[in-house]
């Protein structure tokens, strides 16, 4: 079996793998957006910049202090998450009483600031991030070679996504969170510190973006612009999935990554636009999104 649908098997599975990897990042980023949106009612435009900050943080830790990949996986989301907490406390918290669109405008401005600053210091060319020793090499699956690191990214992102789903849907903390999404005033009346929960939720969502950034660092070049175009695709993913459900966001993310990968095989010209085309189709058929509820 060397050909399938007239396409060499190697190429087909290769693109499928790339699609799956992209899908893992779509899933993690749209998950963070959905969690933030659920509680803050804000679309976090800075998400792409925070993803980039996570990647840069890992690169910086390695180049300056020799802090390796595994520690970065923990430290970068924490550090970037703290910046998120500061942003929420000092800026976003002033906007909750206003129209939600102001949150979008504010985070858009912040994204420009962050991207501009990083471009100033690091230029627009990418910095390579050395692959950790233990991930060098690949598995031979018989029909293709699967690089170890890529396998790790898929598995790790699945764990992160399902872990987030578990915390939100199956634990007491998650129950508070969902309750506060429905009716913050009532939850506060029960003695739960809702403002602090909002702050930590934003920090968590930002940390999730940074974690995705660290995982992306060895695959893509670490560059100031790496998040800018990605975030627009993630917006389309969010529109397609609808922000109503956590599992929906995960499924849509991975699914669209695979669709994009397959498009690269069968009709490469459309691979940049296929997700947007799907968004148009979904809007025509089910405006609330595949997993969304019309509210």
């Amino acid at each position: 079996m060397t050909e399938l649908f007239g396409i060499p098997v190697q190429a087909l599975f290769g693109q499928l793998l790339i699609g799956l990897i992209n899908g893992a990042f779509y899933a993690m980023l749209s998950l963070g957006l959905a969690v933030i949106f659920g509680l803050l009612n804000i679309i976090n435009f800075t998400h792409g910049a925070q993803y980039m900050m996570g990647a840069f943080c890992a690169w910086f830790l390695l180049e300056r202090w020799g802090v390796g990949y595994w520690w970065s996986l923990l430290l970068a989301p924490l550090l970037v998450g703290v910046t998120g907490v500061v942003v929420e406390r000092t800026m976003l918290s002033r906007l909750y009483k206003l129209d939600h669109l102001y949150g979008l405008l504010l985070t858009f401005g912040l994204a420009l600031v962050v991207q501009g600053l990083f471009t100033n210091y690091y230029g627009s060319s990418g910095q390579p991030y050395r692959l950790p020793e233990e991930f060098i090499g690949s598995f031979n699956l018989g029909f293709m070679f699967l690089p170890k690191y890529r396998a790790w990214v898929i598995v790790a992102s699945l764990i992160v996504c399902l872990g987030t789903w578990f915390v939100i849907e199956r634990t007491k903390l998650g129950a508070y969170l969902r309750a506060a999404t429905e009716n913050p005033a009532l939850v506060q009346a029960f003695g739960i510190n809702v403002p602090r929960m909002i702050t930590l939720t934003y920090g968590f969502g930002v940390g999730l973006a940074a974690l995705a950034g660290v995982m992306a660092a060895p695959i893509y070049q670490v560059s100031p612009q790496m998040g800018a175009n990605l975030i627009i695709v993630v917006f389309a993913v969010v529109v397609i999935g609808g922000m109503g459900s956590i599992l929906g966001a995960i499924l849509t993310g991975f699914g669209l990554g695979i669709v994009e990968g397959l498009t690269k095989v069968f009709y490469p010209e459309a691979s940049n636009t296929v997700i947007f085309v799907i968004m148009v189709l979904v809007l025509l058929v089910k405006p609330a999104g595949l997993f969304g509820k019309e509210r």
């Binding site: 679309i43 102001y102 504010l106 600031v113 991207q115 501009g116 100033n120 025509l284 509210r295």
Partner: protein, 324 residues
Amino acid sequence: MATAPAAQPPSARAPRRSTILVATAVMAAALAVAPFLGVYPVFLMKALCFALFACAFNLLIGFGGLLSFGHAMFLGTAGYVCAHAAKEWGWPPEAAILAGTAASTLLGMVTGALAIRRQGIYFAMITLALAQMIFFFYLQAPFTHGEDGIQSVPRGRMFGVLDLSNTLVMYYVVLAIFLAAFLFIYRVVHSPFGQVLKAIRENEPRAISLGYDAERYKLLAFVLSAALSGLAGATKAIVFQLASLTDVHWTMSGEVVLMTLLGGMGTIFGPVVGAFAIVGLESYLAGFGQWVTVITGVIFVVCVLAFRRGIVGEIGAWWANRKA
């Protein structure tokens, strides 16, 4: 989530009609003499094109409450069609500009019909995604010449008489287009249509219950805004003899949001003031590279946190308070 109301801060009482007409006359007169006072006409033309773009955008956000994050697609589409018609087909400038505007109007109909299916934040994300799709289309389509853009577009003779290669003639043509569109927008905002649009912005379910077809009004506002943005883009292509990817990129969509926000959303003169301020700032900072992006971002943040009414909105509020 309740349906997102308009992104409209509590504004001061609307200024009286005579005030606006006088201010418009003053603005027109100032712009007419500006080239003789030593202001560089190319700068003025650029600012006027962006002012028209921002006014068109403001029609949608300021009076319709719809935040589009993809307006660059109309600016860029009109630019490409206009440049292509003028250069490859040898059309006269007035026909090329009309062709560009028509193309944007069509695009506005299609994208508008899709985008108004969702509201608030989703509307912004959908317009952004649609614009990105259009961007990739132009990036790959052969007639746009990719990164190079369509260069050295002939300015030609408008109506066969006005020689646009003369910078001053070109300037007055741009000024005439701008003023006509500005008055048209003023007229639209104060027409029964504009009033219904404001009613929908304030309370859509109520407007529907009064028997207005909210979707149709929103779509019409969107198409009008797209058409006027297209007019700005087509004019810009003739002025700078260039249509490029910059005009379709999402940063351009962000820029027009900033101009309107800085000048004052929902005010008649705000977008004009904002466009002149931003274009001025950019040409002043042209040598500082990426700092422009940083400063643009900072202005965004400051406007949202402390200055939501924008320059014109704040002046209006101060004026109203003083009289009260």
